[in-house]
């Protein structure tokens, strides 16, 4: 068979991941519900977010079982976004600072 059918995995793994995604979503909702603030809030939100994203891509989208050539072609370019994120943050800080100086003395 040239192409015996593609991704074949036991149903159980999807159900487990599904359950895990429910737990993680509930957890991130509770972060808001219990009014966690500051670094604790941010750490929890980002950890839950990345875990959920990772599970979806790895298992539901079968990235875990693809060849590395495809995995790297898709995953590595997204790291460029970190650069955009950094530029955005720098720019935002500068804009905020300038607005403070020119528009609102009340900020300082």
């Amino acid at each position: 068979m040239a192409h015996a059918e593609g991704q074949q995995h036991p149903i159980g793994i999807y159900l487990k991941i599904w359950g895990l995604l429910f737990v993680l979503s509930t957890a991130s909702y509770l972060v808001d519900y219990f009014h966690f603030q500051g670094y604790l809030r941010w750490t929890l939100i980002i950890v839950f977010m990345l875990l959920k994203a990772g599970l979806i891509v790895a298992v539901f989208m079968h990235m875990l079982w693809e060849r590395l050539a495809l995995m790297y072609a898709i995953v590595v370019p997204t790291l460029l976004l970190l650069v955009l994120l950094g530029i955005g943050a720098l720019e935002a800080d500068y804009t905020f600072f300038s607005r403070g100086i020119f528009f609102g003395a009340k900020l300082f």
């Binding site: 599904w18 991130s28 808001d32 519900y33 891509v57 539901f60």
Partner: protein
């Protein structure tokens, strides 16, 4: 694990794995993405470009939110609902999240049953996925109505604080909702193809004329999981910030 592939001489040679595999795949005289139907590779590349679109939106949102000197409306309160006489923060968004995750679960199972050639189960699961997706869009329509009519939030300003709240909110959730709506339409199309047996009998599609195969269910699934994936990020950075 090495899996054999057919070569012209009829002998099977194992594909190299690891870093060596990447080099071998990319430098081979054939296609770079082995063991993947090209439709699936193309969907992945489309999703990569879509990732950049949504990331640009979310990063611009971060930039305007960090740079505004006006107070930002508290999403926890804006998206609260009064249920059973009690005000519960962010509950609508939480329900939407669960609905979308459930649709991702049924989609993953539809792909699985598709490869097992279980037509009826695949069809039913695809239909449930589409129904959950439609529910999500319906709830979003409700949310938009509430914000526009009751709270007076507009893309150019709102009574709660920073004007950027409205513009980024409608832009990001609108774009995401459009993706979900398109997904629902395609889910229904794929479901009908499955039910009619187009994929079992390799009937050509009406648009491209390509032979029907169960890999289209998986390709549809990739798109659908991506929509869920984007929601994970929107939920975290827009609603929980």
């Amino acid at each position: 694990m090495t899996q054999p592939v057919l070569t012209r001489t009829g002998q099977s040679v194992p594909l190299p794995e690891g870093v060596q595999g990447i080099v071998a795949d990319w430098s081979s005289d054939q296609r770079a993405f082995k063991k993947v139907p090209w439709g699936k590779a193309m969907m992945w590349i489309f999703l990569l470009s879509d990732t950049f679109i949504f990331s640009s939106f979310l990063i611009s949102y971060m930039t305007v939110r960090m740079s505004t000197t006006e107070p930002w409306p508290n999403p926890s309160e804006v998206f609260a609902l009064t249920l059973f006489g009690k005000k519960i923060p962010l509950i609508l968004i939480a329900i939407m999240t669960f609905v979308l995750i459930s649709s991702s679960g049924t989609m993953a199972m539809a792909v699985n049953f598709g490869y097992r050639k279980d037509r009826r189960k695949t069809f039913v699961l695809l239909l449930i996925t589409a129904a959950l997706g439609a529910t999500f869009v319906g709830m979003q329509a409700f949310e938009w109505t509430k914000l526009i009519v009751d709270e007076g939030i507009r893309p150019w300003g709102n009574p709660l604080g920073a004007a950027q709240f409205g513009s980024t909110f409608f832009m990001i959730t609108g774009f995401h909702g459009t993706h979900v709506s398109i997904g629902v339409i395609f889910l229904i199309i794929v479901a009908i193809k499955v039910l009619r047996g187009d994929l079992d009998h390799e009937r050509p599609g009406f648009l491209t004329g390509r032979k029907g195969k169960y890999e289209i269910v998986e390709i549809m699934g990739l798109y659908w999981h991506f929509v869920d994936l984007v929601w994970v990020f929107i939920f975290a950075v827009f609603y929980l910030w």
